[in-house]
Symmetry: C2
Subunit: 229 residues, 2 copies
Amino acid sequence: MTIVMYDLVGADDRRFSPNCWRTRMALLHKGLEHEARPTRFEEIKSICDGDRKTIPTIEDGDKVVTDSLAIADYLEETYADRPSLFDGPVGRGLAAFVQNWTQTVVNPGVVGMVVADIHDNLVPSDQAYFRASREKLFGRALEEVQAGREDRLDSVRKSLTPLRATVSQQAFLGGDRPTYADYVAFAPFQWARSISDFRILADDDPVSAWFGRVLDLYDGAARRSPAYY
Amino acid sequence: MTIVMYDLVGADDRRFSPNCWRTRMALLHKGLEHEARPTRFEEIKSICDGDRKTIPTIEDGDKVVTDSLAIADYLEETYADRPSLFDGPVGRGLAAFVQNWTQTVVNPGVVGMVVADIHDNLVPSDQAYFRASREKLFGRALEEVQAGREDRLDSVRKSLTPLRATVSQQAFLGGDRPTYADYVAFAPFQWARSISDFRILADDDPVSAWFGRVLDLYDGAARRSPAYY
């Protein structure tokens, strides 16, 4: 049975949500048949039971699960015979650390560099909601948040030092095979690439090489998704 | 057979080296009989085969291993029937990420707060070597490096956000049981506690609660080691 994944979409079929990318990669990792159904912000309230506030949300038969980590846990438990996302409880525990690092260190740096570009790449009917909600969060116009991003590049790249050191020593965060922790750390860079032509990573950065390795997985599924580069 | 672990020591039997603490905790985790032999900087050149430049170094019968991660890998492989340090290859891969984060984010912040205190807590015959080598590294007097540490507290505490978020959600970095990744992240705080009365962590910080949980392990072995608090 095909799992339906509600996947945030911008204009031109751009799939940009980092949290949705975690789920998409988890479904590919598990080798589960799925449909990543394009969903606009304005449509979220109408999916499934009408009670969902955020995506990713998946529908697996009668089962509805929201939140990327809850979905990963659900898939790991339900499809235990498929390739493991965590490789056991310690891998699950440490993936939470990688997620916390990504959310508190990487994502804030990345969003400040692409938030106005996100707005510009949404369908027009989503733009007003996005601007209002994000400007309330930042307390400033999106264009002001994004301004001067070239001057912040060094500091954002420096913040990636732990990731860089690790993927210089081994192919993936979880060693020689990709696991959920890689998808979590991959997601903000896929987010940026899907929605903005501004290059956050230098070509010769080992993080770029690792990002390329994740893009290549599963017949290049993430690489083929509409993107600026 | 007792494993000999050469353990860096200051005055008053203070065991302060963070890398030695990783190894000490790994030996305790494995439940292996060991002697943490107090070793001054000036004595390192004379241990084992006389070729060792750093500690931790362990002697397990004829086998000599140097470097904390190499030792952890050796113990994991050699004593595979004992409790696992990594819980498999993904746990090992992600432990490397935690180590890289600790070394590039936590350790630099901590050392800047205690480096002159380390000097003052060494045996006198080690002090000249320590001052010369570390002042060359920093390009400044140890006392200058440490000065103004109160002003850096907020920024160092903020850098712990990913650790704080994780140990607020689960007991240990690796989930509900401690593993090697916990010992690596624990080590800089045990280092500070062993050698300085300057409190880096606030009492009500969830990181303090986690640190206390690690101090309590193995009958409080780490807690009983000479320390300022």
